[in-house]
Chain length 331, copies 2
DNA sequence: CTGAAAGCGCTTACAG
DNA sequence: CTGAAAGCGCTTACAG
């Protein structure tokens, strides 16, 4: 038992295997990477030795030589309220999973409001090969920063910025669909509650809501649209108002809102869907919790896992210099 | 606009500043690190140049030279059910925050059941200086692995393993306290619902539950203890049984369970605390959601943020070779 | 107080 | 097909 605390005190290096095999480390390197010409027999000899003595290359050293880190950054908002949405958690999982498969790791970082210092640190410290932006806002400072510094990055969710690679569910169309569905069902008196207009997602959903009305030639009742609702008190108030206005269905822009709405209704002894119907965009674990109470909710399901995985794949392709499609809409 | 996708294409290096100043890079290095003798005037000259031209050292290169990465690994269970507990999320945040302050970053990795391959990859790839284990199980394979490979690590939560640095809330005593409180309040007919016995936390809590009974000379009703309850159906059944047994209060071992219990009760039109009382250990966002429905729940609050921050601090101290207290119980 | 040199563990033209 | 050498951007004895 050695007393130092250093990781891997007795790691074997490329020099060791070169010496042991009586070849140059160039050769060993080539056997591993598969790049450059190398004799078939030599290669297998090296490869065998390597797996027997289970040597594994020092990724950091490789990184220094190739200007890569084999890390990607996953940047999420540092705001507790937003963070509770299981969306990020699920994303992180699927990103981490597919990163692992490609021998990458993911560094998580936060951005707090307009303070992107953590992001900057990540970049100036050369800690990552690229960034996945979990949420973007209008006129996003992190997007500007990444663009200016030529850092490969993709965004989860749509942004209006030019030339940004974005992975998204098709919120606009999904929302058009959901709204249309409700309207066609004959539910005309709709209410809408949504979070910060600052988030592009919410904007897209709002647009979809409006669009559905246009397409079906219905008039939008703007009085029943509550945006920028960020706290529970606000939700309570919105629900009170909507009920007073006699809406038949409340559409919630995200599941966090939906959850609170349901809670509020239950406190008021209102039954769903008898007294008022509820619809929501993507369904998370929060929704699962509610679903056990058998409340019938119309909701649209997005495949978050696929989103994370696609984002990760795309970013790595991008950072390794491959071509990628600039906009990818899923589901 | 240059067309390569490489991060920081035109980064300035230590050589550049050495050349510009007509000193050796040794000197520049010393000015930055503060190690080794260096003239006062020289130091400030270097430091000034650096901040003006905002040079920042390549952490990767530094890492290669010093065998460090300035990354720490945060390892969480890859199981969705467990993961939904906001505990990990909050931990991640506070760890990430304090890591940032110390110029470290955090790589998130998962371990799936007994499969610790992701962890192994992280270590053999030299990606981190140490590990924070978010949850440990009895006879934990990751602990064994880390121990064998002399990797500095700390665990969140208690483990029985020898010589493991652990940061924990004092679950045992907290549970003794909570249980005693209930017993002394005159609530004698208690029920307990807990998750996998495999997790040390649950064990500690269970022990605390028993201990409280012993201390107050009460007999434990083992029929009303439901452990290894992992799914909603199980919780439903446990609640049904407990109600049938006429318990006055149900203690939930974690808030995920508590949440489901509350849901189940509400479906059964049981009122809390009129019909049955509820107590729970640590209160998360899940609980906040419930608290708006004004259900009176007795619960113990732990400071997760402090836990994460302490863990991070301790790990970094450990990995940098400093002395640390082997066991730290908070709150 | 300062610097030349070797080294961290890899990769990759270049030459043979 | 293979190797010697330079280089990635730092740190750190060692010498002066």
């Amino acid at each position: 038992m050695d007393s130092t605390n250093h990781v891997n005190s007795n790691k074997i290096t490329i020099n060791d295997v070169a010496d042991a095999l009586g070849v140059s480390k160039t050769t060993v390197s080539r056997a591993i990477s598969g790049k450059g010409r190398i004799g078939n027999e030599t290669r297998t000899r090296v490869l065998n030795y390597i797996s027997e003595h289970n040597y594994s290359p020092n990724v950091i050293a490789k990184g220094l030589a190739t200007s890569r880190t084999y890390n990607i950054g996953f940047v999420i908002p540092g705001d507790y309220r937003i963070i509770d949405i299981p969306f990020f958690q699920k994303c992180l999982f699927s990103i981490s999973e597919t990163a692992s498969e490609l021998d990458y790791d993911v560094i998580v970082s936060t951005i707090n409001g307009n303070d992107i210092s953590h992001l900057e640190r990540l970049i100036t410290n050369h800690k990552v090969d690229g960034i996945i932006l979990a949420r973007t806002v209008e006129n996003d400072p992190s997007i500007r920063y990444l663009l200016e510094n030529h850092v490969p990055f993709v965004t989860l969710g749509t942004t209006d910025e030019e030339g940004v690679v974005q992975i998204d569910n098709d919120h606009f169309n999904a929302c058009v669909e959901l709204t249309s569905l409700l309207l066609l069902k004959g539910i005309t008196n709709l209410g809408l509650i949504g979070g910060s207009k600052n988030h592009v997602v919410n904007h897209k959903r709002y647009d979809g809501y409006i669009k559905a009305h246009e397409k079906l030639d219905r008039t939008v009742n703007y009085e029943n649209i509550y945006l920028d609702v960020n706290n529970m008190a606000g939700i309570d108030r919105a629900v009170d108002d909507l009920l007073e206005h006699g809406v038949h269905c409340i559409i919630c822009m995200d599941d966090s809102i939906c959850h609170h709405v349901l809670n509020k209704l239950s406190r008021d002894h209102m039954l769903v869907p008898q007294d008022v119907k509820i619809a929501s965009f993507y369904d998370s674990a929060l929704m699962e919790i509610n679903s056990i109470s058998n409340t019938a909710i119309t909701s649209i399901k997005f495949d978050i896992q696929e989103m994370g995985s696609t984002a990760c794949q795309t970013l790595i392709n991008l950072s390794e210099g491959r071509e990628v499609k600039p906009i990818q809409l899923l589901g």
